[in-house]
Amino acid sequence: MKTIILRFRDLVTEAGGTITEHRRLLHGTGSVWWGWWARQTEKTPRGLFQELASTIRAESDVVAFLFNSGTNQFYSVRVSRILAAPEDQRITTPDPSKSPEYYHRAPCPAWFLLTSLEEIKFSDFTFYYDSFPTISNQDQTRIGNVIDRLIPSFGQEPLSALIDKPLSALTDQQIVSLDDLRNLGGVTLWAVRTEPEDGSA
């Protein structure tokens, strides 16, 4: 299954506040808008969002994941709608009554309507890199250039052999740990493929 992992931190709330606020609205209204807090250098991957939207149209929602890179917590969410601003633009929340107050003046490049949000263990699934769609020139970007710090996974085979290759060489390589995500790419959104550990779809 192709999907996305969205990175976030509790930058404007107390620790755990982001999830608390979203859960509160989710329980109160049945759904909540999650804003993608992209970095300024990231581009909006409309093509990828279109693929996910097709899945949503066919199956009513799509499973995606949230990664709190401050606390190392991982969440599974169901996304029933995606709204994405035109390239290089940002939009405020589609519905202030369904998003935490701290968002309301902050435009984001895309918004995801969540209908469920639960904490899981990263190890509950096996994840593989698909692509880095928010990096404009991922085919020309060397993996070694985007590793923020020494990642143990990249210190040994098979990943060590790919250091001088472009990011696309990571496609279908397994994401070994959340540390890999935190320190690789400097991005807030990864396209990934996943299989649950129990082998179910």
Binding site: R46, G47, F49, Q50, L52, A53, S54, I56, R57, I82, L83, A84, A85, P86, E87, D88, Q89, I91, T92, T93, P94, D95, P96, S97, E101, H104, R105, A110
Partner: protein, 437 residues
């Protein structure tokens, strides 16, 4: 109503033409985002909505209904992720950028207004007059967790009086009609124009008049003057008879090189409202070097001001009264002193040698009812140029005069007030620029 080609307007039109030929709306979107006062709708109408570029999105005939359904259109035509990037029409992106500009400006203004006006209701409506005054959007708002959620309830073409708004209720669906009636019938009047918001609470601001179409015409001319002649620096500006404060707020907001700004009115409520309207703008307060601002309650006295100004604005009473009637002896609750007589016009014009710098100018409103007075009061050495060729014919809806049969007859028989076939009355607004000749 008023369409002038300002440098920024031309740049917007040029960017639209570029979007049409290159299929890239970026430049237009950037210009709009950089300048909330730019009002892209003015450029859009001038550019030509009936061009093939817009065929699949909206046409000149359909722009009003596009506004009415803009929230749904925005999501389904642009934001919906199921649309492929290549299927996003450039014309859609152009209109999307326009609405983002309009709505984000309005939201910000409402947030500022709510912060400084605690009685502002969490739910209501805003009358947003677009550049050129060709249209007014009646925008319903709900403030949810500090953030205004907006919906366009009606679009009024060429708004000239309050009756145009009530008539608009006949042309919208029942749900919108009820919304519109609620907005127009509320005790709050919130006007937005070119990046300025003026909220009037009819209960708290019972002595404050307007803003009405004549104030908006002056505000539009002021905005166009600043855009048209962006190289001109205004250091000292004055509004005489500030009333609801729209023009003082416009001076404060549009003239970013001001060192001093003064506003004067005999009515304390008007001065209080003006002060709030100027100081509630977060952009103004955040300026590195805001001008020294004087809010003066009292009669206009050029000697008291003791300085000359580059720019003076005045929307004085311009309806002549029956000879022998003293305005200030009458205790009326229908704003009689705010609209009746031409004394303030005379005082301001006679004071020009004392209050205008050598290159300074006055923007003043008159009417076909009082242009003879205006010409008589104009001091020698000063020239008056019509700001709008031929003036603007508007409905005469001054309640104080309409209720007074003696006054009404005087205006009709002696001053040229026109009675229309439907029994209503009209006159022509004549705004003038006055400067040393």
């Amino acid at each position: 109503m008023i369409l002038l080609n300002s440098e920024l307007h031309e740049r917007l039109k040029h960017s639209l033409a570029e979007a049409e030929s290159t299929n890239n709306s970026d430049q237009w979107a950037k210009l709009l985002a950089l300048n909330p006062m730019s009002d892209g709708l003015l450029a859009l109408l001038d550019f030509g909505l009936d061009r093939p570029f817009f065929n699949n999105v909206v046409s000149t005939k359909d722009i009003n209904s596009w506004f009415l359904r803009v929230r749904e259109w925005r999501e389904t035509a642009v934001l919906d992720a199921s649309l492929s990037p290549s299927s996003l029409e450039t014309a859609s992106l152009v209109l999307f950028a326009l609405w983002e500009n309009v709505s984000s400006t309005t939201r910000k203004l409402l947030r500022d207004a709510k912060t400084h006006n605690p009685t502002l209701p969490d739910e209501g409506g805003v009358l947003m007059f677009l550049g050129g005054l060709s249209k007014c959007l009646v925008i319903g708002y709900r403030i949810l967790s500090g953030s205004p959620d907006l919906s366009v309830e009606a679009v009024v073409n060429n708004p000239k009086s309050v009756f145009d708004f009530w008539e608009a209720a006949d042309h919208v669906d029942p749900h919108r009609r009820n919304q519109l009636k609620r907005i127009l019938g509320t005790g709050h009047k919130i006007v937005v124009h070119r990046g300025i918001i003026v909220p009037i609470d009819r209960n708290l601001d019972s002595q404050v008049f307007g803003p009405t179409i004549d104030t908006l015409v002056l505000a539009e001319l002021l905005a166009q003057q600043v855009l048209e002649f962006a190289h001109q620096q205004y250091s000292y500006a004055l509004e005489v008879g500030c009333g609801n404060g729209l023009l003082t707020a416009a001076l404060a907001h549009h003239c970013d090189s001001l060192k001093e700004l003064a506003a004067i009115d005999t009515n304390f409520g008007a001065v209080s409202r003006t002060t709030k309207n100027v100081l509630s703008s977060s952009d103004y307060l955040a300026r590195q070097d805001p001008p020294t601002t004087y809010f003066i309650c009292g009669p206009f006295n050029p000697s008291l001001l003791a300085r000359k100004f580059d720019l003076v604005v005045c929307n004085p009473p311009y309806i002549p009264v029956v000879p022998g009637v003293k305005i200030y002896d009458r205790s009326r609750s229908d704003f009689y002193p705010a609209v009746g007589g031409t004394d303030l016009m005379r005082v301001v014009l006679e004071a020009l040698p004392e209050i205008l710098n050598r290159d300074g100018k006055l923007l003043i409103m008159t009417s076909s009812l009082s242009t003879d007075d205006f010409r008589r009061f104009l001091p020698s050495g000063f020239k008056a140029e019509a700001a709008v060729a031929g003036g603007i014919r508007v409905r005469f809806d001054v309640e104080a005069a309409i209720k007074d049969s003696t006054w009404l007859t005087f205006l009709e028989t002696e001053k040229g007030l026109t009675r229309e076939v439907d029994g209503t009355y009209s006159h022509v607004l004549h705004p003038f620029w006055v400067h040393r000749g």
